[in-house]
């Protein structure tokens, strides 16, 4: 079917269209990644930059020592597992909170629909860092939440909320909730009312209609939203640093410490490469899951 490809000029243009994002990804993602991967294979050195070359005298001198080190020290494995736990639980919470919100917005009449959507996006107009600091203030022992609960007599002494895993969950769910709501809203707002009416007409109660029609048809939005929350949550640094306690362990913090406190660039790079693989694998798995739905 050679005619499908079209004229040579057309295919040249098609290449140009693909080339622009390719170039972008090449410059801003692939090259830095190769650089980090290169450092991860090198050995630390008291030099500037603080690592050895992996190619000397026409010979490959790199090794996987840094990766083996990651496996040898339980800190790294625990940090990975803990990050996955934080990301997973946060994603589930964001889904449980975001789904009803997205559903309500999708079902709302205009002009409410636009107003509600705007409110979901509104927090992005303030710096992310400021908003996390605001959460710190809210959750302080002398903060407004504790004061209100004390005043109501619901608690006898201030709750410890800051510097706990709870605070980290609050921070991650709060920060990434819009990324869950927006793709869910996109699929739910396209849901044809006639399908819900058809389901009711055929004898399904509203709850059954939700489980058999609405939920399965919104699955692409659930998957997209889950990925958008899960992936950045794994590598999250600011939220655990500001809201987490001394026991809170996430891979983003470990990475920061290796780079800036221990100044061991080679291990830090190995952490970064391993983290990337850890994120790519769930994406590939989810994409595989999505295929039969198309």
């Amino acid at each position: 079917m050679s005619h499908v490809a079209g004229s040579p000029r057309m295919s040249w243009r098609r290449w140009l269209v693909v080339a622009i994002p390719m170039l972008w990804l090449g410059v801003f993602f692939l090259l830095p990644f190769i650089e980090v991967a290169r450092i991860s294979l090198a050995d630390p050195a008291l030099a500037r930059p603080p690592y050895t070359a992996i190619w000397a005298d026409g010979r490959f001198t790199g090794d996987l020592e840094n990766f083996l080190f990651l496996l040898s020290d339980s800190l790294y494995v625990n940090a990975y597992l803990s990050s996955i736990r934080f990301a997973f639980v946060s994603t589930v919470l964001a889904l449980l909170i975001g789904y009803p919100m997205a559903y309500a917005i999708a079902r709302a009449r205009e002009p409410w629909r636009t107003v509600l959507l705007f409110l979901v996006i509104l927090p992005f107009w303030t710096s992310f860092l400021l908003r996390v600091y605001a959460l710190v203030g809210l959750m302080n022992p002398t903060g407004p939440i504790n004061q209100l609960l004390l005043w109501l007599g619901l608690i006898g002494e201030p709750l410890v909320m800051r510097q706990t895993d709870f605070a980290v969950y609050v921070g991650i769910v709060y920060t990434y909730l819009p990324f869950m709501i927006l793709p869910l809203y996109a699929v739910l707002s396209k849901l044809d009312d006639a399908l819900l009416e058809a389901s009711a007409d055929l004898g399904a109660h509203p709850a059954v209609t939700f489980l058999t029609v609405t939920l399965p048809l919104s699955l692409p939005g659930v998957v997209a939203g889950a990925m958008l929350v899960f992936i950045p949550s794994i590598g999250e640094f600011v939220i655990p640093a500001l809201l987490g306690g001394p026991d809170t362990l996430m891979i983003g913090q470990v990475l920061w410490n290796e780079f800036f406190s221990a100044r061991d660039w080679t291990v830090a790079s190995a952490v970064a490469v391993a983290m990337l693989l850890l994120i790519v694998l769930p994406i590939l798995w989810l994409q595989k899951m999505m295929e039969p739905a198309r």
Binding site: L195, E197, A198, A200, L202, G203, L217
Partner: protein, 378 residues
């Protein structure tokens, strides 16, 4: 209309003509207002078991709202709906003894053909094996066997229409509501499907209420037609009565083509009544209950008028000039100008290849009998 009109078998039984049988669907003083604007305005209607009742009207006439109230998707502002003696006013759609075939078909895109059809049975709590048997029977009836595992997007428009029909019939509802069931099909498929629909209806003995804007579809399918306009029903009758004896100017004008002569009642003789019109006196069959000088309209269908070069001696004679004509094969439709300036439409059957057909600018004679005109008072 060249197509042969099928005979409605249900039409042999005409319970609406006598009062012995109780109506199956009873609609009383039903109104629906959206933000104070009436969509359905005080409709009362009786439909008997086994009927194919067509609600016919233009877009926005309220026919779909009426259907949606029967299905339970819209709550009436006032009035009552009874089906088989049961008041449905507060019954939600999932427990109504009705099923609906949607204009868009509304097939579940994530389910197979089989799962779509079995959906209603499974919701009743029917066991899987039994539901699958019933589904297979239904798919055989609509000639879709072999496509059980397909998804809606893998089907043609005609096949989707059949899945929608099968899904709405499989629960054997007392009443099937069809919203423009043939609207999305092309003409040829539509004609075939009309016959099939009537066949299935006859075999399963289900009462159909069909909403349509297509008068040909309504004429072919219906045992009776309810012509709707601005939320009200303007006439309810058998298709041929609606066509031959329209109740008012709206129905006469809406169904088919018609020439209307406005005038006043002049004098009545035992066998003919004269109506004074600007185009001259028109003789029609006498109608009881009319006053002298009462203003009326006389409606005459184009095919009931003759068109000749010489005068014919018909009861009513008019002279006119040909403005335009369109050769349609079976008939030729002429647009004529009367001396007063108004136009008439006359259709002339073609009996063969004429050497010199009547053509532009020719003076002609139009004739029609006293029986051809219908007197309209509303």
């Amino acid at each position: 209309m060249t197509q042969i009109l099928p005979n409605n078998t249900a039409g042999e039984r005409k319970p609406w003509r006598g009062a012995s049988e109780a109506p199956f669907v009873r609609i009383r003083d039903l109104s629906k207002r959206f933000a104070e604007i009436p969509a359905v305005d005080d409709v009362s209607l009786d439909i008997w078991k086994g009927e194919i009742f067509c609600l016919l009207g233009g877009s926005g006439c309220g026919k779909s709202t009426l259907l949606r109230m029967l299905a339970g998707f819209e709550a009436p502002t006032s009035g009552r709906i009874e089906i088989d003696g049961q008041d449905l006013s507060n019954v939600p759609p999932e427990v109504r003894p009705t099923n609906m075939m949607f204009q868009s078909y509304a097939l579940f895109p994530h389910m197979t053909v089989e799962a779509n059809v079995a959906y209603g049975l499974r919701r009743e709590g029917m066991r899987r094996a039994e539901a699958m048997d019933r589904t297979a029977d239904m798919l055989r009836l609509v000639q879709l066997s072999g496509l059980e595992k397909r998804r809606p997007h893998q089907l043609s428009g005609g096949q989707r229409q059949r899945v929608a029909l099968a899904r709405s019939l499989v629960k054997r509802p007392k009443l099937l509501l069809l919203d423009e069931p043939l609207g999305a099909l092309d003409r040829k498929l539509r004609e075939e499907t009309q016959f099939e629909l009537m066949n299935i209806q006859d075999r399963m003995g289900i009462t159909f209420i069909v909403v349509t804007h297509d008068q040909e579809e309504a004429m072919t399918l219906a045992t009776r037609i309810g012509v709707m306009d601005a939320g009200r029903i303007r006439q309810i009758d058998e298709p041929r009565v609606v066509y031959e004896r329209p109740a008012n100017r709206f129905v006469a004008d809406f169904i088919g083509t018609v020439n209307i002569f406005e005038g006043t009642v002049d004098a009545a003789a035992p066998d003919a009544m004269r109506v004074r019109t600007p185009e001259g006196p028109v003789l029609v069959r006498p109608l009881k209950g009319l006053r002298h000088n009462q203003s009326v309209a006389v409606a005459v269908r184009p095919e009931k008028m003759s068109l000749t070069r010489e005068p014919t001696g018909a009861d009513n004679q008019l002279q006119a000039t040909v403005v335009d004509y369109a050769y349609m094969g079976d008939v030729t439709i002429y647009k004529l100008a009367l001396p007063g300036g108004r136009t008439l439409k006359v259709s002339k059957a073609n009996h063969g290849l004429e050497a010199r057909p009547i053509s532009w600018d020719e003076p002609v004679h139009v004739g029609f009998s006293t029986a051809a005109g219908v007197v309209l008072t509303a």
